[in-house]
Symmetry: none
Subunit: 178 residues, 2 copies
């Protein structure tokens, strides 16, 4: 069951009356009231309309006010192990359901993944330390410290550290792939 109280909370935060939200969203006053009090389970289209009136996305609406485990302290980071990868991944974002994920990726000197990976969504990476070579399909892209890159994650890709120094980079992905 969808929690309608989030709608009321957002509405009040934006200082809107039921009448005003009804007008902005083209949903009747009575319906908004019923949804807010969990008297009804809205159709997705009705939710879209309410989101328009509230100026939020559905993902935001569903994830709003979920403040559990926002912070990941350095000492509490989870290390991710992937079956096909020897690289060190540390999750920076919390494990709760979200549309955005952040990880630290560490490669030892001359380390690489042999296997190309592909997954839904897109990602951005920023080189914190050392260098990093990204193989995107058959293209080899070399990044120095401070460089960054964005690409579509469905493009088969893998990481290579061709140097004698450790490489550290931070990556954001939407949707999450871990």
């Amino acid at each position: 069951m969808f929690d309608g109280s989030v709608i009321r909370k957002l509405r009040k935060e934006k200082n809107l009356s039921l009448k005003e939200l009804s007008s902005k969203s083209s949903v009747s006053i009575a319906t908004v009231s019923q949804i807010e009090r969990d008297n009804t389970d809205p159709a997705i289209t009705t939710l879209y309309k309410l989101c328009k009136g509230l100026d939020v996305t559905i993902a935001e609406l569903i994830g709003y006010d979920d403040n559990t485990d926002r912070v990941v302290k350095k000492r509490d980071r989870k290390t991710i192990t992937l079956p096909d990868s020897k690289l060190k991944y540390q999750l920076l974002s919390s494990r709760m359901k979200r549309n955005l994920e952040m990880v630290l990726v560490e490669l030892e000197p001359h380390q690489e993944d042999r296997k190309l990976v592909t997954h839904k969504g897109e990602e951005c990476g920023y080189v914190l330390q050392g260098s990093l070579t990204i193989i995107l399909d058959n293209e080899e892209i070399h990044l120095e410290e401070g460089d960054s890159i964005s690409f579509n994650s469905t493009i088969p890709h893998r990481y290579v550290n061709p140097t004698d120094e450790k490489s550290m980079s931070v990556w954001a992905m939407t949707p999450p792939s871990f």
Copy 2:
């Protein structure tokens, strides 16, 4: 109107029959079929159920856009100026149309933004250097170097550097807000 063909597409990708998805999601075969062909506008709870059967989140279901890649070299970074902010922002992601954005945020000692901001989406931040205090609504969250945080960007927020040292953090946002 919600586009039900996404459900069919995902179902076929996962090699599920209507009967199998119906079973995994506890939604009747007939309903799944009707939703897939846009004959009906599902309740949000029904969509939750379908997502469970398809093993995707609502955000994933509702979708995002793919696009092409681009590198931002350190020397080519764009600095972003915001009308209400004195903080230094540098864009790490390309300016191409995307659903994901990454920026470097730099605060001088004792620098802060006085104004709470709110915008659509969600964000993750990782403290690269120094410390950073995030004000989320009325909550004050203190992060040390190496700490990270995820939150919904519609929650009013602002950044504060309460220390004598410079603070550097990297932030990912979806959807982009710059």
